[in-house]
């Protein structure tokens, strides 16, 4: 006999709204005579805006911490992630609207519903308290992203979609195997059990099999490491970033990392908290490999999208660095880093989209030669984003790096911080090289920049945010501090 859980839907209203308007968008796409980006965008915004409002309403939630049969957690941690993810979705939709207007033949209205579905999966995964829900949310976001990757149907996009799909399905099978092992070890898939003991209680009480638990931990790491593109599970990242349409990459690069990391934090820092001494070395190793691989291989890249992909691998390593400190300092540092990284990624790919004009032809470094002469505004914005990625003050990236390193050092992992700092020096080379191209090279012939206004405004706002956060990080840390305490 399955007990009927008390139904409290308010905590998942954001996801309900997103899915509802995703369906509305699909219906519009199906029945509209000539699909038009503007109504699509309007529908998406109508979904995203109220979702944000309902998410905000959860900030001061006074009801139970776990609802819907303990499958969904209600905490400020998930509110923060929802805000970042909804923001990323909004910017992604804006970008795509412009992207499509440049090449109306390639417009696919499915972008908006798929983005909303992916966002719903992402927000749900950060709030999920049940490995089943996490798996379902993971599949929801992954399947949507596979399709989004190939949405233009071009050769490169279809290749990227194929690679992303095969590898994603492969790694999520590992993840699922891990979930099954965790279930076997704990007799529950709940991370924190209220009605019945969850994983954390079972592990803390050592009621289940320790071997199964460790196996579960190792396999769950694989699944998350793939999603956050940590080396050696990163191989898909450069190809997918390069092949997928830029607005998709902007959304995906920013949001997937946020969602996967928030879920990872909840699963490991809460659910597998009794195994902290077992999983921190694994995270440590992943961090080192990711930082080194991302920073070093990026040097050899000439395609800006690939370069940013390797940069995202290195950044995954930096965030993992913060997470080697399995405490609220480490979580807070990782959260700050993720927010800063999401903002920068959205902005940087916005500029990439504007520079690459129609199609996806001009993404090589040569297209950036003399950009400062052709469009000084774009060059200046790109400079801000690159400096933030490189962790140079006064940008948020600098503060983010400092906080993750100090968290790692606080946990005694100073060799990791040393690796991080050295890698940052290496990384500065390729970030600055792009700036050198933009400001000190002669512009190439026959390259025209896109003069889209809306993406420019969006990127400008994001750049301003980066600088403001770099100078007044307290604005964000004040919000993150009460949100970085996830515990059972």
């Amino acid at each position: 006999m399955i007990p009927t859980p008390a139904l409290e839907f308010r905590p998942i209203l954001p996801e309900i709204l997103l899915c509802t308007f995703a369906i509305v968008g699909m219906l519009y796409e199906a029945f509209a005579r000539r699909p038009d980006p503007v109504p699509h965008l309007a529908i998406a915004i109508v979904g995203i805006g109220p979702a944000a409002v309902t998410a905000y309403a959860l900030w001061d939630w006074s009801g139970p911490s776990y609802v819907l049969g303990d499958t969904v957690a209600v905490d400020r941690f998930s509110v923060v992630s929802r805000f970042v993810l909804l923001g990323a979705a909004f910017v992604g939709c804006l970008y795509y609207t412009h992207y499509a207007s440049r090449d109306p033949g390639s417009f696919r209205g499915e972008f908006y519903p798929l983005t909303l579905f992916a966002t719903a999966g992402m927000t749900l995964i950060t709030a999920a308290n049940d490995l089943i829900v996490i798996f379902l949310a993971l599949e929801l976001l992954s399947l949507s992203l596979y399709v989004l990757t190939g949405i233009t149907g071009r050769r490169r996009a279809s290749e990227a979609a194929m690679k992303y799909f095969l590898l994603g399905a492969f790694s999520s099978a590992f993840f699922l195997y891990g979930v099954a092992m965790a279930y076997g070890a704990a007799t529950s898939t709940k991370i924190v059990g209220v009605a019945a003991p969850g994983i954390v209680q079972a592990l803390a009480g050592q009621t289940g099999s320790q071997a199964l638990a460790l196996l579960a931990m190792a396999l769950l790491v694989v699944g998350f490491a793939f999603k956050v593109s940590a080396a050696p599970f990163h191989m898909w990242t450069p190809d997918v970033y390069q092949g997928a349409p830029t607005p998709v990459v902007a959304f995906m690069g920013a949001a997937t990392k946020v969602a996967a990391f928030f879920a990872l934090i909840r699963v490991f820092d809460v659910g597998l908290q009794p195994l902290t001494w077992d999983w921190t070395p694994v995270i440590y190793g992943l961090a080192v490999v990711s930082i080194v691989v991302g920073s070093v291989v990026a040097i050899a890249q000439r395609d800006v999208k690939r370069l940013l992909a390797y940069s995202s691998i290195a950044h995954a390593g930096f965030i993992l660095t913060g997470l080697t400190a399995a405490n609220s300092t480490g979580i807070g540092a990782a959260m700050f880093y993720l927010v800063a990284y999401a903002v920068v990624t959205l902005g940087a790919f916005g500029i990439v989209m504007l520079v690459s004009a129609r199609g996806e032809e001009q993404t090589s470094l040569d297209a950036y030669a003399g950009l400062a002469r052709r469009s000084p505004g774009l060059a200046a914005l790109m400079t801000v984003f690159l400096l933030s990625l490189g962790g140079i003050p006064p940008t948020a990236g600098f503060i983010a790096k400092v906080t993750v390193f100090s968290a790692a050092i606080g946990a005694g992992n100073w060799p990791l911080a040393v690796v991080g700092v050295v890698a940052s020096v290496v990384a500065a080379y390729f970030y600055v090289r792009v700036i050198v191209y933009m400001y000190m090279r002669e512009p190439a012939e026959g390259i025209e920049s896109d003069d889209g206004v809306m993406p420019r405004i969006a990127a400008g706002v994001l750049a301003a945010g980066i600088v403001v956060l770099g100078i007044f990080p307290g604005i964000l840390t004040g919000i993150l501090e009460p949100a970085s305490i996830v515990r059972w």
Binding site: K163, L167, S171, F233, I299
Partner: protein, 548 residues
């Protein structure tokens, strides 16, 4: 504490000197700098200087004082190098800036010590609490560090080397900054901080010794200079030594009086020299002058007043000022100071007599001297006004208790009194010394009975050594500058360029190779990517298995 200002008798005296003499020099500069392509820039620098100088003397705490202190240093640098298209001028500006920085840095350390000890830089607070807060040693340390700043700024031995070279600047600059105001900031600092110096005692002795040594040393250099402005530069150094001498004997009021009097006659002498240089089409060498009193009568008259004033002929200002210092020395039983001061006074009368006779008397010794022309009114009117000042400034302290020293007494304390030879007798001796010096210069340079060029040659190598400032510059160059340059060369071209850059380049190259290798791991085949995922998973599983 903040940007508090403070006006008391000492700062009021300084303000009157800065603005009064500054105004005259500005008027003079209107004529002197006419036609210069950077006319506007010159005056903006000058006014910036006046601003900072006023900040310096008006600050109610050491912070504002230091702001002004560095500000005038900057303006001095900018104005010495004003004609920077001549490399030597730029060099001189650099030298002035760097040399004074040595003192400034020590002074900053002193200020830090004050903050450390008192928790404030406010004059009232520091001086009020000094007696209870500071030990004798701490007071000595702070006072000496502050005095190091004064040594640099006021060009005292051993940091005096920049001032003669600073004559590369336009003459109004020399008159305003390097004679009347900025270089006296060190005296102001000592007078202002006298509480700290007195608490130490040792520091006052150091001030006195530095003052005496500088006064004599610089005077010997001045005697042998061939450039009219360099004579005046060494003269200024020597006269600043007199001021420190007075301060070192706790006669702060006398030091301030000397400062005021000196400001008048030294500004007058510089501007007069400028008028001569102007009239001789930028000729500064004494050997090519001569007989100018007929061609430049007004300049001659005013210059004469200035020279006699400094030489110490009563009743001109310098007589009273110098006399007051020597009187304090004699009356407080410092016979050596009195003797050395008198020697310096003799020398100062001697070198001014030499300048006077070589410039204005005898026969013209060059075509330029024959074609010299009198200055326009815009130049000579300030000269005339200054001449009146130089002649009458002595009245400021004519009464027995001294008007100016009495006015300053609230801040500086009373002038130390003692027993000794009667004032009148001292004055008579001093006057005789001056007259003898002037008479001997007349005999050597003015009478025509002595072959002064041959006379100089017979005395070699003394004149050459004195001309070169007794080779202090060369000694510094050998002992400090060249080793530092060699060290810098080694750091730059061996340590940095070879070893550090080499290592960095090697690492960079290595990383690039690594990047190229790593790049080719990304084969593009999805199956090899899946293999990486699989191997990664296996690695983690093995690690976890081995660990447990």
């Amino acid at each position: 504490m903040g940007t508090d200002l403070r006006l008391d008798s000492v700062s009021a005296t300084m303000i009157l000197v800065i603005t009064g003499i500054g105004a005259l020099i500005h008027v003079y500069a209107i004529g002197y700098m006419a036609g210069d392509p950077r006319y506007g820039r010159f005056f903006s620098y000058m006014n910036l200087f006046v601003f900072f100088m006023l900040m310096l003397v008006l600050g109610a705490n050491y912070l504002v004082l230091y702001l002004g202190w560095e500000g005038v240093g900057l303006c001095s640098y900018l104005l010495i190098g004003f004609w920077s298209d001549v490399p030597a001028n730029a060099e001189a500006a650099k030298k002035a800036f760097i040399t004074t920085r040595i003192g400034d840095t020590l002074m900053l350390v002193g200020l830090a010590l004050i903050v450390f000890r008192f928790g404030t830089l406010d004059f009232e607070a520091v001086f009020g609490a000094a007696g209870t807060v500071l030990t004798k040693d701490a007071a000595t340390a702070i006072a000496l560090l502050l005095f190091a700043g004064a040594i640099g700024k006021s060009a005292q031995v051993p940091l005096h080397v920049w001032l003669p070279d600073a004559m590369a600047g336009p003459t109004p600059v020399s008159a305003l900054i390097h004679a009347a105001t900025m270089v006296t900031a060190g005296v102001y600092l000592v007078v202002r901080s006298h509480v700290l110096f007195e608490l130490s005692g040792v520091a006052l002795t150091v001030v006195l010794v530095v003052g005496v040594v500088t006064a004599v040393f610089a005077a010997t250099c001045a005697v042998a200079q061939q450039d009219i402005k360099r004579v005046l530069a060494y003269s200024t150094i020597s006269q600043l030594g007199f001021m420190f001498m007075a301060a070192g004997m706790r006669a702060y009021g006398v030091a301030m009086f000397f400062l005021v009097a000196h400001a008048f006659y030294k500004a007058l002498l510089f501007l007069g020299a400028g008028s001569v240089i102007h009239g001789m089409h930028d000729e500064q060498d004494l050997r090519r002058m001569g007989g100018l009193r007929r061609l430049l009568p007004i300049t001659f008259a005013t210059f004469l007043v200035g020279a006699l004033a400094q030489a110490g002929i009563p009743p001109l200002a310098g007589f009273f000022a110098k006399d007051a210092v020597l009187e304090v020395a004699q009356h407080t039983g410092r016979a050596a100071v009195y003797a050395l001061g008198s020697i310096a006074a003799f020398l100062s009368a001697f070198y001014l007599g030499r300048v006077l006779f070589l410039t204005f008397f005898g026969e013209p010794r060059s075509d330029r001297a024959r074609d010299a022309h009198e200055a326009p009114p815009v130049l000579w009117v300030p000269l005339a006004v200054l001449a009146v000042g130089a002649a009458t400034a002595g009245w400021l302290t004519l009464t027995p208790e001294g008007r100016l020293t009495g006015f300053l007494e609230g801040i500086t304390g009373p002038t130390p009194a003692g027993q000794g030879v009667a004032v009148a007798a001292l004055a008579a001796v001093a006057t005789v010394i001056s007259l003898v010096a002037l008479a001997s210069t007349w005999w050597i340079y003015g009478s025509g009975r002595v072959d002064w060029v041959g006379f100089r040659e017979r005395l070699e190598p003394l004149p050459r050594a004195a001309l070169n400032g007794w080779y202090v510059d060369r000694a510094y160059d050998t002992a400090l500058v060249q080793p530092a340059k060699a060290g810098a060369w080694i750091t730059a071209y061996v340590l940095d360029a070879r070893i550090i850059d080499g290592a960095v380049n090697a690492i960079g190259g290595g990383v690039k190779l690594l990047a190229d290798g790593g790049r080719h791991l990304q084969t593009g085949f999805v199956r090899s990517y899946a293999l990486a995922v699989f191997l990664g998973a296996v690695t983690i599983l093995v690690y976890v298995g081995v660990r447990s």
